[in-house]
Symmetry: C2
Subunit: 247 residues, 2 copies
């Protein structure tokens, strides 16, 4: 198996970096090949904009979707997007390692979706969801949060974590990934931050390392999250009357 | 009344730009003052990272929250963050104008949340939600989507739009805003994109302009969305047993 880790954290000594190290070691011990997209270290530019497309399909009006499609068709995607897509092509499993910032992924990682999952190349109106480009590949989010687990439930202070991650998970489903249940490390505060002592940092990290390594070894047995697919929708994209997942 | 428009679109001739023009004209006709943060035009940097903080509170370990708090306390926030906060301070109403990209706001706008809503300055553990810094101010999202309205409901192909916007709305609630129901312009494709003719673009735009102007004139009468608050949570942040909003 080949794994790709999309790592998104600005601090090399962070909990997130430690969890990525665990991923690398655990997966290599299992004889899997591992690649890393270290978005901050590689200075990935998360902003989709006209300057990324040369030559432009239309110089008078910038449509991100039209330019992505044109660049895909003419093999003129920016080098870093081409690189990310090649990494995805090689991977059987993609791990997204990031902290929850403002109820979602950091801008750096949001922009990875905006720019890398290109229209025309990785999806079309017909090639999406359970007919998506990456069908057969699996993805999992490994997420740290500042607030404790008790604050993440329906009606709770931090919101329902399944709900908060649903848009990101659905984006992965959109391009065909089977999305595994996330690994959640609650109550993580960078050391140096007021709430966390050095000792607390180290012991919490040891516990999390073991938990995450354990999860990685069991990934093959985990059932994927359930999302609606083409059989659930009418031609207008609405849910058929007999379909009711709630979200 | 004073309004601030956080405008996030890379194309000056886009539907989004047209809707922002409508906001400016309509609100000024009503004798309101209007400011615009045009994130793309101002080349806002959405990536929170160590380089934004000089001097650093801790040079050996980067914690975004700790550095934000320190920079707030020492009045050392980056100039563009200081400017955005001053704009927010002046506003009674904040309009977020953006396209839905990958089930959320574009990275550019996500990074506005990551960087502008600074720890220490605009929130603390005690100054959040219905005790938030911006209590008394209102916010509204005006959002364009590529897919048609039929594709955005529970179980539908594009997802439940209320669900998709919930994380962003909850971030606004977190800092105290009263969040008004969003204005949704479905089925918008930039001209130049395959699905949209020039004629279709113009007539759809005319209809939307009128709808959005009408909504802006009624903002004072709109009840805010309901979110849980401090009375709904126990000390650990969990929802009290008698509280059940579902999300």
């Amino acid at each position: 198996m080949r794994a790709l880790i999309i790592h998104c954290h600005p601090e090399p000594a962070s909990f997130n970096a430690a969890l990525t190290d665990v991923s690398v070691r655990t997966l290599r011990d299992l004889d899997h090949a591992v690649e890393i997209s270290d978005l901050y270290a590689e200075a990935f530019d998360p902003v989709e904009r006209p300057g990324h497309f040369r030559p432009r399909k239309d110089r008078t009006f910038f449509s991100a979707l039209a330019e992505q499609r044109h660049a895909s068709e003419t093999e003129a995607l920016p080098a870093e997007i081409h690189r990310e897509i090649e990494r995805l092509e090689r991977a059987d499993l993609v791990i997204f390692q990031f902290p929850l910032w403002w109820h979602g992924q950091p801008a750096m990682l949001k922009g990875w979706f905006d720019r890398v999952l290109v229209n025309g190349g990785l999806y079309t109106s017909a090639m999406r969801y359970d007919r998506g480009y990456f069908c057969g590949k699996r993805a999992i989010c490994s997420v740290t949060t500042g607030a404790p687990a008790s604050a993440f439930g329906p009606g709770a202070r931090g919101g329902d974590i399944d709900h908060l991650l649903w848009p990101l998970h659905y984006s992965l489903h959109y391009v065909g990934f089977s999305v595994l249940p996330p690994f959640l490390a609650f109550g993580i505060q960078g050391h140096g931050y007021a709430y966390q002592s050095e000792t607390g940092f180290a012991s919490r990290l040891d516990a999390l390392r073991a938990q995450w390594a354990g999860r990685l070894k069991q990934l093959g047995e985990l059932p994927a999250l359930r999302f609606p697919g083409w059989d659930d929708w009418d031609d207008a994209g609405a849910a058929k009357p007999d379909f009711a997942t709630g979200i």
